[in-house]
């Protein structure tokens, strides 16, 4: 069983920057300690730029989407969508914003950024990306990645993603994130240079850890169960919602047929003609209203999907924790046996290692306070997610209410037409 021994230097070098006075009690301390190594390594000039960058208030937006064609890795023609990311700094005094950076990125680059963050911040629930492919679709047309509505919703999702990272006290300081926003060319190379792919844990290892951990932390186990069940229930919800939308579409569209037949019928009627004709018009309005209604509902589905992805991210953190726990237990075993060896060699042998250094290497930079802090952060993030969900639920029900009011309006109009027959 290979043990991934964390190398402090490799882990920290490209990742963290000097903290800038935005510190919270527990975490601030932790971050300082971790940054200790980085400060020695980072170049002076770069650090100064980064410091200034974060001193001002930043506005990030994904403002545009554009269809592009290019050649992929296998030199084949492909079509993809690129998104324009604009960063503005806001002057404290007058509140005006100045455009500092703007560049184009495609979805795969966002993915790369996220995968990098997942590896380097295993204890943080990394914000989710919008779907790669349209899933849980209710209508065949909306399964197309080039569909303008899908692209628009993705644009919003990507913007939310960046904003959430920027508002996270730890993630926002990441250099690769900074480069993502500012350095168009060679960014991919910079990410790959961090060698994060090597650090990514294999799924098999993770599975092993689940079954072999002897003293699992109950809080993490509970969190894991919660995220599993949540994923399952939300997937179910999304599937049924898609079917509900599909059926509702059918109901509205069939009403459109009334429009045509009322019009034809009105042609042979004398007094009833006008009433029928205008009622038919209202039926047409009713039938065409469903497209907008369902488009609005897609936003609610998106929020549910975000929650789904958050659950996945949460699960990943729990999995990571299990891995670390497992490593910890194995290391403790090893340490015990090595201690024994050490004692056997004690007489006349120069100590070749320090116990403190050893535990630091094996256990990582984690102190009990740090672990507590991480759990606290997790819980806060879950609360925030719940908060958002409630507000989305509210929005969702507001949308429905608009739909019902519209329905009442249309039928009241139709009724008036009928009364004039």
């Amino acid at each position: 069983m290979e043990q991934a021994s964390p190398d402090p230097e490799r882990q920290l070098q490209p990742g963290l920057l000097e903290p800038l006075g935005r510190s919270d009690a527990g975490l601030g301390v932790a971050v300082d300690e971790e940054a200790e190594g980085a400060r020695e390594e980072g170049s002076g000039g770069d650090t100064m730029t980064h410091n200034n960058f974060w001193l001002k208030k930043i506005e990030i937006s994904v403002s545009e989407a554009e269809k592009r064609t290019g050649r992929n890795a296998m030199n084949m023609q492909e079509t993809y969508t690129a998104y324009l990311i604009e960063t503005r700094s806001v002057e404290h005094t007058d509140g005006q914003s100045v455009l500092t950076d703007s560049l184009w990125r495609r979805y795969s680059e966002f993915e790369l950024l996220r995968n990098y963050l997942l590896v380097y911040y295993p204890h943080i629930v990394v914000p989710p990306l919008p779907e790669k492919r349209a899933e849980f679709v209710w209508h065949k047309l909306s399964a197309d990645n080039m569909d303008p509505d899908f692209v628009e919703r993705r644009r919003i999702g990507l913007e939310n993603f960046l904003l959430r990272i920027a508002s996270h006290p730890i993630l926002c300081r990441d250099k690769i994130f900074y480069l993502f926003l500012t350095q168009e060319g060679n960014w991919k190379e910079s990410v790959n240079e961090t060698g994060f792919q090597l650090k990514a844990d294999s799924r098999l290892k993770a599975l092993n850890a689940t079954f072999r951990v002897k003293n699992p932390d109950k809080r993490f186990t509970d969190l894991k169960h919660y995220s599993d069940e949540l994923q399952s229930v939300i997937s179910h919800l999304l599937r049924v919602r898609a079917r509900v939308a599909d059926r509702l579409y059918g109901v509205y569209k069939v009403h459109g047929n009334y429009g045509r037949v009322f019009s034809e019928w009105s042609a042979i009627e004398k007094e009833m003609g006008d009433g029928l004709q205008s009622a038919g018009h209202h039926m047409d309005v009713y039938a065409s209203s469903i497209d907008d209604i369902l488009e609005d509902e897609e936003h609610y589905a998106d929020q549910l999907k975000e929650y789904l992805f958050y659950a996945e991210a949460l699960r990943a953190v729990c999995r990571k924790h299990e891995l670390m726990q497992y490593d910890l237990e194995i290391a403790a075993q090893d340490l015990a046996s090595k201690k024994q060896q050490c004692e056997e060699l004690a007489t006349g042998t120069v100590r070749t290692f320090s116990l403190k250094g050893m535990t630091t290497k094996l256990f990582g930079q984690e102190t009990p306070e740090q672990r507590e802090a991480r759990i606290k952060v997790l819980e806060e993030q879950i609360n925030e997610g719940e908060q958002q969900l409630k507000s989305k639920n509210l929005e969702g029900s507001n949308n429905l209410i608009t739909q019902f009011i519209f329905g009442i309006q249309v039928w009241t109009n139709a009724k008036e037409c009928f009364s004039k027959m």
Binding site: R247, E386, N393, S397, F404, A414
Partner: protein
Amino acid sequence: MARSFGDKDLILPNGGTPAGTSSPASSSSLLNRLQLDDDIDGETRDLFVVVDDPKKHVCTMETYITYRITTKSTRVEFDLPEYSVRRRYQDFDWLRSKLEESQPTHLIPPLPEKFVVKGVVDRFSEEFVETRRKALDKFLKRITDHPVLSFNEHFNIFLTAKDLNIYKKQGIALLTRMGESVKHVTGGYKLRMRPLEFAAIGDYLDTFALKLGTIDRIAQRIIKEEIEYLVELREYGPVYSTWSALEGELAEPLEGVSACIGNCSTALEELTDDMTEDFLPVLREYILYSDSMKSVLKKRDQVQAEYEAKLEAVALRKEDRPKVPADVEKCQDRMECFNADLKADMERWQNNKRQDFRQLLMGMADKNIQYYEKCLMAWESIIPLLQEKQEAKKESRFLDGPRK
């Protein structure tokens, strides 16, 4: 809307009243034609009929439903001011046949469909019986409103006789003079051309029936789609309950959403039931109505055809000029009465149709409005539930959340 019925109908050939008319039905019908058509004003009515109280009868040979018919009238044709009898569907069917036979120049209202596919529809279910009761009630009311048909003796017997079967068996010939006369019209004559106004009626009825058929199909399709939508909703709601069980703070709002969707589902079910029971049957009745009306038009054609043929035959036989033989005169008389009756009935039918459809379509709109109002109420009631939780947790270390 209300117009004097007498004007058109009294324009008869040779002036004056139809020759030899003496049967009671005709003279009082003439009287009625002179009166204003005022069904809307309840005070001038003198005949009220209601169909209600369906009961199931289980006998050795069969099981069937009877309906109570209550009649209130001040007319002289009725011995008592009030009657209450029980009738079953086949009695209505008998009545309708008799009316067609005895009043061939008039449009007889339709009955709800006789046959129901066994196994698909439960003949004794509450919904089916109620739908049928409404249709039978409408049938009798249409006859009641008709100035000629309401005085028909078969109708009278139907409303008053203790035991209808006796009359059925006796096969009393209660044909009106007109009925008798039309009965003997030979069908061998072919009409060369339908007069413009009757051709127009025929065309109208064709298109009308066609459009109603389309509307019937659309309505059925909508109900089908709504039922399928309902099936999905019934699965959708409970998932929120399942989710609610996982959560702490979110539990109440999620449970609320689940209940809300449940309420909307119930409202939708009510809508589809109403459309099935109240909307579709009326449409179908009108299609049957226009079919029977087209038959009457054809009969009229036959009468005219016979007249024209006989007239032609006379024209060829030069001896009888200039006096027109009696039997040709009879044919002409027959034809003109038929035309008059039919035109009068058509106008009456058009007015009633307009009222009926106005009511039917407004009812459909109403039902839909009620459905949306119920849904609206359900969702509005849980908004406070979603809102209060929101305000409780305003403080957050992070930005206020991504903007849309």
